[in-house]
Symmetry: C2
Subunit: 145 residues, 2 copies
DNA sequence: CTCAATTCCTATTTGTATACTATGATTATA
DNA sequence: TATAATCATAGTATACAAATAGGAATTGAG
């Protein structure tokens, strides 16, 4: 029942791009230093975010990445699902592929559904902007997003 | 973010013992047939439940297992935590052992706490008796618990 | 007192996913 | 043309999941 590093790092990556946004493209080298995650691992993670259109990349010198949209456009759920895969606590809740023949008589299925909903409820109702705002309130900071 | 088979099977095991309780000890062979899980794997799982005092075991012929208490005494959370370990979505929320030095400046910590609470809220407010009751309502059955 | 059924205990195996690292090609700017 | 970056793909070490396997100890029944 753990969120993997991919999901957690993806979130930190997006937050880092949001917080340090100046309009310019931000190279992963900078993110790497700030977040203490290797550039190579970040590359691997950001590929998925680029393909999904959440982040724009520019190659070459003066290249880097920036969010494609605004921080309030991205929920934690969007980012985690992309990098982690489904957040369902059991496989039988995932799409139609993993349909379980015991489903009708399953005594625990309702519980797993409830758990799934509780999880989704948290991650789908929190955006990057929310996280940054809450953090600023807590710290008394004033990051420019 | 998946519940492992150990946790899921432990829950099914406890529910099986609850539903099929007659006062007698129930051998794992029967549970195995009903739940379609090998006796050997069930043995491994139930060991933990016995050590925690949730289940009583009796060796030998006419031996088997039965719940130590009543179905309403056991929450899903108790059973999952025992078999899965902590249900925290990130390690830094687990006790003091995994304390993270970034905690004070961590922008995502609040989110993980919220998620953790949402998960706990579901599993700690559902007992075996609840699951059986809901199931009977759904199916129109009348299991003797 | 022995047999069969069962729990109890410990090891071993197999597969898969996680968490990276490594190498090199491609592209853009100065 | 040199440099700094993304982009693409492959490789690797480790740990965890999900069991299986073998046998010792215990109990009740006949």
């Amino acid at each position: 029942m753990k969120i993997s590093t991919k999901g957690r790092y993806a979130l930190r990556l997006m937050l880092d791009l949001a917080i340090n946004n100046t309009g310019e493209f931000i190279p992963l080298k900078l993110v790497s230093e700030r977040q203490d995650i290797s550039v190579k691992y970040l590359e691997q993670i950001i590929t998925v975010l680029v393909k999904a259109g959440y982040v724009r990349g520019l190659r070459g010198s003066k290249g880097g990445y920036k969010l494609a949209g605004k921080p309030e456009d991205y929920t934690v759920g969007m980012i985690l699902r992309l990098t982690e895969g489904s957040l369902a606590p059991v496989a039988c809740l995932e799409g139609d592929t993993n349909y379980c023949e015991r489903a009708d008589e399953c005594i625990t299925l309702g519980l797993w559904k409830e758990l799934y909903e509780a999880i989704n409820n948290v991650v789908d109702n929190t955006t990057l902007a929310d996280l940054i705002e809450r953090y600023n309130d807590k710290i008394g900071n004033d990051y420019c997003i």
